[in-house]
């Protein structure tokens, strides 16, 4: 049986920031296996995303061998709702998701429940804070910058609400209808039923797939991590890294529901933890409010502070979901060349790949440890659209040493939403610089094609004739995608 000798890697423009990657495995120029990874955009629409999906349908001939959804974020799954009618006409043989999406997995269940509760609370808090802040009867206190400050606080809460909607899959700004099923859940369920679903665990290596002979699929993350030690790590943080690495088991703490004792008291919103005797009575509260709500005092009130913490938690929640990304590496077994696909994994997920048991399992099952895989990476799909925390420098990029490295960054810069820090934060400048250096200018972006930065041009000018030829011949651009052919 002949082996795969190249992969045609297509990165689609979905009309907004998002991932949609089509991998066409080639045997002597013929596609023998087709694989789609994610399909979504942050604030896209049926009209904007359909050209990409139609192109996928045409290219794969209405038949995908493998569909992978890395994680449940709007910018990775919205297409399965928005272009559902087209996907309905595409048949899928196998579906892969991470173990986190397995509704029967005990650890995943605990995580998802916790997370769902958090999201519901965040949304409620943001809504309530905005309600108080938006109260038009309120007169602005005569304090310098009072208006500006209020606007800032409001904006922070609006961003929080948008982030929650993003997690759930509502369009930013769109009112989440009570009882409406979050669209991200819908998309995930749709994909689950699209083909034969398999939930992947870190350490697994899948090989000998029909059509993809000669290829090994190494599962790197997300780490199995019940107490969310890894999932919470969004940035490189040495201390937390050691903390997480040294946790004795993956099982972590026992979930509340399973404990023998139910100690303490739960803080319930609207109910005081103190005995009634300490509460002011109605008359006293009226007197209190007279002062507290007076115009002279109003600027010093603290009515919404307890709700506003949701802003930082919402950001952390988004990172947490990013860390649940199914991260994998695909190896051409003969040449040992590796394609690295981290999804949107942030530091915690990257660190998890290096856990001794995961790395050892990869070695046992596929012949390469995590570090070896990174060492041999020749093609890298940049994580999280080039954000400052999408590519873990210590546990990741530093190990990538191949002189042949080419990278693709799914980024449409001017579509970066405000809640992510706005377009000036993307791509993160230090990361961008390192990527341009490491790839010697061979970096491809959705919005630019081959990147136009001066430094990149300069470095490309220094490539050898063979390298230049290889790069130019492998790169192609379609109406809604950029493409690169990775030789095996």
């Amino acid at each position: 049986m002949s082996k795969v000798d190249a992969i045609k890697f297509r990165m689609y423009d979905t009309g907004s920031v998002g991932d949609c990657l089509l991998l066409l495995f080639q045997k002597q120029g013929q596609t023998s296996f087709s694989m789609l990874i994610d399909c979504g955009g942050f604030s896209t629409s049926t009209a904007k995303i359909s050209p990409a999906v139609l192109d996928i349908q045409k290219t794969c001939g209405g038949k995908l061998d493998l569909l992978v959804v890395t994680h449940q974020h709007l910018d990775h799954v919205s297409g399965f709702n928005q272009a559902k009618t087209i996907f309905d006409q595409i048949t899928v043989k196998d579906v892969w998701m991470s173990w986190i999406e397995n509704k029967n997995d005990a650890v995943a269940k605990v995580l998802k429940t916790k997370f769902g509760k958090t999201l519901a609370r965040l949304q409620d808090h943001a809504d309530r804070a905005l309600q108080v802040m938006g109260n038009t009867n309120q007169v602005l206190p005569p304090v310098k910058d009072a208006g500006k400050r209020l606007e800032k606080r409001k904006l922070s809460m609006q961003n929080t609400r948008n982030l929650v909607h993003f997690e759930l899959g509502f369009e930013p700004g769109q009112k989440a209808l009570k009882g409406a099923k979050p669209t991200n859940d819908q998309a995930m369920d749709y994909v689950r039923n699209k083909g034969k679903i398999q939930y992947r665990l870190p350490g697994e290596v899948i090989k000998d797939i029909t059509g993809a002979e000669g290829m090994k699929f190494f599962m790197l993350g997300p780490p199995r991590d019940r107490d969310m030690k890894f999932f919470k790590i969004a940035l490189k943080d040495e201390e937390m890294y050691h903390l997480a690495m040294n946790s004795p088991t993956d099982e972590g703490e026992m979930p509340e529901e399973e404990r023998l004792l139910n100690t303490g008291i739960d803080l319930v919103e609207g109910r005081s933890p103190f005995a009634d005797e300490f509460l002011m009575d109605a008359a006293a509260i009226r007197a209190f409010n007279k002062v507290y709500n007076s115009e002279a005092f109003a600027w010093r009130q603290i009515e919404t502070d307890w709700l506003e913490t949701s802003a930082s938690i919402a950001l952390k929640a988004t990172r947490l979901t990013n860390n649940t990304s199914l991260a994998m590496a695909i190896e051409f077994e003969d040449s040992g060349r590796v394609i690295l696909l981290p999804g949107d994994a942030q530091s915690g997920n990257w660190m998890g790949w290096h856990k001794p048991d995961v790395s050892q399992q990869l070695k046992d099952n596929g012949g390469k440890t995590t570090v070896e895989l990174l060492n041999h990476t020749v093609f890298y799909k940049v994580g999280h659209h080039g954000s400052h925390n999408g590519t873990a420098s210590v546990s990741g990029l530093e190990y990538v040493k191949s002189p042949d490295l080419v990278a693709m960054m799914p980024l449409i810069q001017n579509a970066i939403p405000e809640e992510w820090g706005g377009s000036t934060n993307f791509p993160a400048k230090p990361l961008y610089k390192v990527l341009i250096d490491k790839t010697k200018g061979r970096l491809i972006r959705t919005d630019q094609g081959v990147v136009t930065a001066a430094k990149a041009k300069e470095l490309r000018g220094q490539l050898t004739r063979e390298e230049k030829k290889e790069f130019t011949n492998s790169f192609a651009q379609g109406s809604c995608y950029v493409e690169y052919v990775i030789r095996g």
Binding site: P142, L267, R300, I302
Partner: protein, 678 residues
């Protein structure tokens, strides 16, 4: 009946926090009686002259009854008994610790503690916004149950301390009850820490700007230092530890271990543990060995704060060792080896007294040094110089070598002041400006003018009155024919005699060069009637203090802080360099990075000698340009502006991890637990 007024109000409280009471070795010492200066007008709340405790709990939609500390039954029993379930005790606890912290500051500073002011608009009759004015903030607000999260913070916008409470997670372990409630308003360290933020903000509102990695670290580190040293001022706590060490009286390990335990009880401020050392599984103390590389490598704001804490703590340990060397020689007969078994209680008492004395001295030194700091862009080297100068001028005799202890502790961590030829007490001390520098005599004139200020302020103890008089001196008061310092400076002939000299002294721009640097200006009528443009200078504060040193030395000083600012934009220059030019509004310019660049100067006037003693400045322009020649061109201070760019917008911005400029609640962000509960 002022004569019959009791000197103190005694209030029971936790020395650490409630969890410490559950630890067998510390249970005895956790409950102490705070002695707070008696406030005559103490209303239920408690609400006194300095603070008002408001127990609004919005998450519970409740308000708790305020405690009346003057109620006879409470008065007679030194306040309410410590209890986690009684919110009125929580009110008492925050009141006691905040007031105790204020007391320590006032003792060291020799003047009243003032909160930062608020800028307000006057209200016109038609309801429109009128002119802006500075309003006195008499009372800091304290909300013991403001939020439900593992956080507590000082809100500069509202001049308030907000404390949180939360469900302890089982993973927290320790002495917490899983699922139990932890109140941050019951932790001495958290209260003292947040109060220090508020006091520091009242003195130097620009210290929240991250113009240097040390700036974010200083607020945090200084707040931790105060909280930590306050513990050591209570001899009972140290006594307990000395008793338990049973003769293994190694000062570093004893004090270090104790300090770390203080930190642990809180469970939040880890900086101590990382900075000083750790206890291994066998309970052996492993001190952290400082390195001269620390200053260059520890950039993150918590690490940076810890660096300062460890330096000060190191000095404290050295001072304690020095103070107790003779006692230990006596106790061991010169062998240095203590006999086995319990230590004699008298020796325990004496050692504890020395520790407490050393702690309160170091605390005073640290606080007093603040007056000798520049009003913007402080770095640790500046702070070391301030420490040495402040101490040298008040304490003539340094028998116990406090100053050397500080210099050594800072040196070990690579903290060196800029612009000094070597490290000795003499060179680190800020120079006294020679009288010859003031040939035209206008410094004398200013001092003379300030003497009026002193006369008006003498014997004033009411903080509002002090504020009003100070404001009149700064901005002027037409009714009382008080022109205000600013108009005095520019309007009269004082300053025009030699603006360049004033520039050289303050590092701020007074000559016509201000236009080239983009510094704002205003039009003013000179005394002779001519209208001129004068550069904007913020006269930020004017403070007077009387201090008496241990040798009877009396200090009568006025401290004035001046500031100047400009907005600069950042252009790319060849070779990865940056070019800083004054910002002017235009479409292309608005797309460039820009920030506010400030210069500042602290002027210390000695009223006894009528002279300007020190000018401690952070020049806005390049000091290499300081010449007295006729024409000179001023340019931005290159090192400072480049560092500020790096910290605010460049490579350090993220490493420092402090709240970005303009954040609504900078301290909330920095105190947030890094590993938040989801």
């Amino acid at each position: 009946m002022p004569g019959n007024r009791p000197p103190f109000r005694k209030l029971k409280g936790y020395a650490f926090d409630p969890s410490t009471s559950l630890n067998l070795s510390t249970a005895d010492i956790n409950e102490i009686v705070y002695k707070i200066p008696w406030e005559v007008q103490l209303l239920p709340g408690p609400e006194g002259d300095y603070i008002k405790v408001i127990d609004r709990d919005p998450a519970s939609n409740a308000v708790y009854k305020p405690v009346d500390l003057n109620e006879p039954s409470i008065l007679a029993s030194d306040g309410l008994t410590p209890s986690e379930t009684n919110p009125q005790f929580h009110q008492q606890m925050v009141y006691a610790v905040v007031m105790n912290t204020i007391k320590n500051f006032e003792m060291a500073l020799g003047r009243k503690v003032m909160w930062s002011n608020v800028q307000k608009f006057r209200k016109e009759k038609n309801g429109r916004k009128g002119k802006m004015y500075t309003e006195f903030v008499e009372k800091l607000l304290v909300y013991p149950h403001a939020v439900r999260e593992q956080n507590a913070y000082y809100s500069p916008d509202r001049k308030a301390l907000l404390f949180g409470y939360y469900n302890a997670t089982p993973a927290k372990g320790g002495t917490f009850l899983p699922g139990g409630i932890v109140y941050s308003c019951l932790s001495h360290d958290i209260i003292a820490h947040e109060t220090t933020h508020a006091i520091l903000d009242g003195m130097y509102p620009r210290y929240m700007e991250t113009s240097h990695p040390d700036m974010a670290g200083f607020h945090e580190g200084f707040a931790d230092i105060i909280a930590l040293l306050q513990h050591f001022t209570y001899p009972e706590i140290v006594k307990n530890e000395i008793r338990q060490t049973q003769g293994k009286l190694h000062a570093e390990s004893m004090l270090g271990k104790l300090a770390v335990e203080f930190g642990q009880s809180t469970g939040e401020y880890h900086s101590l543990r990382d900075a000083i050392g750790t206890t291994d599984a066998n309970g052996t103390w492993i001190p952290k060995v400082p390195s001269t590389a620390d200053y260059e490598t520890m950039i993150e704001c918590h690490d940076r704060g810890a660096l300062l804490v460890s330096a000060v703590f190191d000095a404290f340990v050295a001072i304690y060792k020095n103070r107790t060397a003779d006692l230990l020689r006596i106790a061991t007969g010169g062998t240095g080896v203590m006999p086995a078994g319990d230590i004699h209680p008298d020796l325990v008492g004496r050692l504890a007294d020395e520790a407490s004395k050393a702690a309160s001295h170091v605390l005073c030194m640290c606080v007093r040094a603040l007056d000798y700091c520049p009003p913007v862009d402080l770095n640790y080297g500046d702070y070391l110089r301030a420490l040495i100068t402040a101490d040298k001028e008040l304490v003539l005799n340094d028998d116990h070598h406090y100053r050397i202890a500080f210099i050594n502790a800072f040196r070990k961590r690579g903290i060196f002041p800029e612009g000094v030829p070597n490290l000795s007490v003499d060179t680190l001390c800020y120079n006294v400006l020679p009288e010859t520098a003031d040939k035209t005599g206008f410094m004398k004139q200013i001092s003379d003018y300030l003497r009026k200020f002193k006369e008006q302020l003498a014997y004033k103890t009411d903080r509002r009155q002090i504020f009003d008089i100070t404001q009149d001196f700064i901005t002027g008061n037409d009714e009382e024919d008080q022109p205000g310092f600013y108009r005095y400076l520019f309007g009269q002939k004082v300053f025009w005699k030699n603006p360049k000299l004033f520039e050289n002294i303050t590092g701020l721009v007074f000559s016509s060069s201000f236009k080239k640097l983009g510094i704002g200006h205003s039009r003013m009528n000179r005394q002779d009637g001519a209208a001129i443009d004068v550069p904007s200078i913020e006269l930020h504060s004017l403070k007077m203090h009387n201090r008496t040193g241990p040798d009877g030395q009396v200090q009568n000083q006025i401290i004035m802080t001046l500031m100047q600012r400009c907005t600069v934009m950042v252009k790319d220059a060849p070779g990865d360099k940056k070019l800083y030019v004054p910002y002017t509004k235009s479409k292309t310019n608005d797309e460039l990075d820009r920030f506010t660049f400030r210069g500042g100067c602290t002027l210390i006037f000695d009223l006894n000698d009528l002279m300007l003693k020190h000018a401690i400045c952070k020049p806005i322009f390049d000091p290499a340009m300081k010449t007295t020649r006729g024409r000179r061109v001023l340019a931005y201070h290159p090192w400072r502006i480049a560092m500020q760019y790096r910290c605010m917008l460049g490579d350090y911005a993220e490493k420092i991890g402090f709240a970005p400029p303009g954040s609504t609640e900078p301290f909330a962000a920095i105190h947030e637990p890094q590993n938040a509960v989801l």
